[in-house]
Symmetry: C2
Subunit: 354 residues, 2 copies
């Protein structure tokens, strides 16, 4: 168990001075091509890896990261904010400073403006919920050109735009929902009503296509899709209309938000004696209550705790210019009445980065 190689070892091996090694690895000053090559060779030979702790100590480095979270009447994103806030103390051992910015949901212009403004501030990394938009792409590009790491969470964007994506596979999530719906029908026929916020939201669209894929070979049919804009009044009104128009619906799958409206409608049906199977996404105080009260049957939760923790891990790697580890895949949790975890006071939550 020999000591890990240091920059001094690299210098010796390369036959140059420490100063030259430093110029190479930290890219400053001018170095002859020959020297640069021999230093890099020595680094490779020795398997040198920078001691990040020592480096951070010397520079009194603070990691500054920004989370851009959609703003709106969306309990899920409030939860994400709570989790990010709870991560502060979790830094514990290392100096991370987290800032949350909230921008209007589904508003590419606002998001792009936010990103542009961020470029003026000294951030090492930015995490945002992906949105497909050329302006956003450009703003991200500008940030990354400045050396700021940018990654998407929850909903992805085209690969080249961001450094990484942390989140669930939404097609698979939709398939999961489909499989559970199939399971709950036990081979009998049925009719499924899908609800999304907007088909332009990639995560919603992905879930829907996963659902379709899974139900295609079965006896289950689809009622016309509802777009609820993630707003509970809209969801409520359109759902009510759809149910009135079609009495044969046996299952409802809501891939987006605005489920308060859905729950109101289902509560009425439930009192009236019969309600369809209901599956929705994201654990929130309201969805939890509905599950406990028997108004809905399944909650598929994307585990934002894991997503935020993974995001932080990757942001740190990117900031250190280290290779990105392959994080364990984030698998959505399936909550039924019987396996709801005890409610956790978010103020007490302290996540783990790693």
């Amino acid at each position: 168990m020999k000591r890990a190689p240091t920059l001094v070892d690299v210098a010796t091996r390369a036959g140059v001075s420490y100063a030259t090694v430093d110029r190479v690895v930290n890219g400053r000053g001018s170095v002859a091509e020959k020297s640069r090559a021999s230093v890099l060779q020595a680094v490779a030979d020795l398997g040198y890896i920078r001691n990040v702790a020592a480096a951070n100590l010397a520079q009194r480095r603070i990691y500054r990261f920004c989370f851009i979270i959609p703003e709106g009447t969306n309990a899920f994103f409030d939860r994400v904010c709570d989790i990010v806030r709870a991560m502060h103390p979790s830094a514990g051992t290392d100096p991370v400073q987290l800032v949350i910015e909230r921008v209007a949901a589904f508003d590419p212009a606002a998001l792009a403006a936010c990103l542009t403004a961020l470029a003026e501030r000294p951030f090492d990394g930015v995490a945002l919920v992906g949105l497909s938009d050329a302006g956003v792409d450009d703003a991200i590009g500008a940030l990354r050109d400045k050396g700021v790491a940018v990654l998407t969470m929850i909903s992805d964007m085209p690969t080249p735009a961001r450094d990484a994506y942390v989140g669930i596979d939404n097609v698979t999530a939709g398939r999961t929902a489909g499989a559970l719906i199939v399971l709950s029908h036990g081979g009998r026929a049925g009719r499924v009503l899908p609800i999304v916020g907007a088909l332009s939201a990639r995560d919603h669209a992905d879930r829907l296509s996963g659902l379709r894929e899974t139900l295609a070979p079965t006896d289950l049919t689809f009622a016309p899709l509802i777009e609820g804009l993630d707003r509970h009044e809209v969801v409520e009104a359109r759902l009510r209309a759809a149910l009135a128009a079609d009495r044969s619906i046996t299952a409802i799958y809501s891939a987006g938000a605005g489920n308060a409206g859905l729950i109101r409608v289902v509560a009425e049906m439930s009192e009236a004696g019969r309600r369809p199977i209901v599956m929705i996404h994201e654990l929130t105080p309201r969805s939890r209550a509905a599950l406990e009260d028997g108004l809905i049957d399944v909650i598929i939760d994307q585990r934002p705790e894991d997503e935020v923790a993974g995001t932080l891990t990757l942001l740190r790697c990117l900031a250190d210019r280290r290779p990105l580890p392959q994080l364990p895949q984030i698998v959505p949790a399936i909550y039924l009445r019987e396996n709801l975890p005890a409610a956790v006071d978010p103020a007490l939550l302290k996540g783990s980065a790693a």
Copy 2:
């Protein structure tokens, strides 16, 4: 944004020298009670927290942790080993050395002996799969008296014995299985055959009680419990006998290991035309294949990646004598045919401690 307080600041505030502060916080030499008090007061006033990176740098510290993993014909524990091994590089930024010891499964004497032997080696922490046994308790106590952190994973032990537990709530896992069985029966009657490795294994017993609890208020009845000792031949033989004796079984729930035997039996039934609903635990190459082949219906996986990562996080905290963070609860993943994640080459896996 002012600089975090250092020991020099503490010394100044307490009106003593750095040397005295050092004596207090690192508990060496002798210090007058008055000095100790004023130092501690200063620490509290300033909210001093030791800079672990600097401390580790100065001591050239290496964290040495040992994972004790049950040995046997158990693919799940092989997977755990792979994950632990894959964590090595994940250390990445910090100097962690991991050692794996394997001991015979379900053998308290062997486990206790292993723990005792470990006390002679310079470990900072040990993780083991809990086993209820007085000898094991004593061995753990001896280790902890030496200052070694000890925590249980996967299966717990009585609280006072270990420093922490990382793993799923097995009662809830059993309830989950029960709920899915109920769902899949869609209100029809049925008969459930439970299989465990041994009732003396706490995780198995917990799962069974969760299952019983959930099925109690339903129309579903229980066939007599099978104890399969986690060995596939035993499981196969006893299952065959049970199925021959009782043709009315509509679901099988296996809470333990040895599922290769179960799969063989189910494969035959499947070919013969009809098989019951089958739910088992843990994602392994074999169980994955069985799910893909339509021989079983659900795999409940306890996500050992998360368990190992969480274990490492806590071991580090314990080694640093830092307060333990509240890790996000580990929720078992429910895998159906439709949401099986892509198989990951374990050699490529690099986990996140965070």
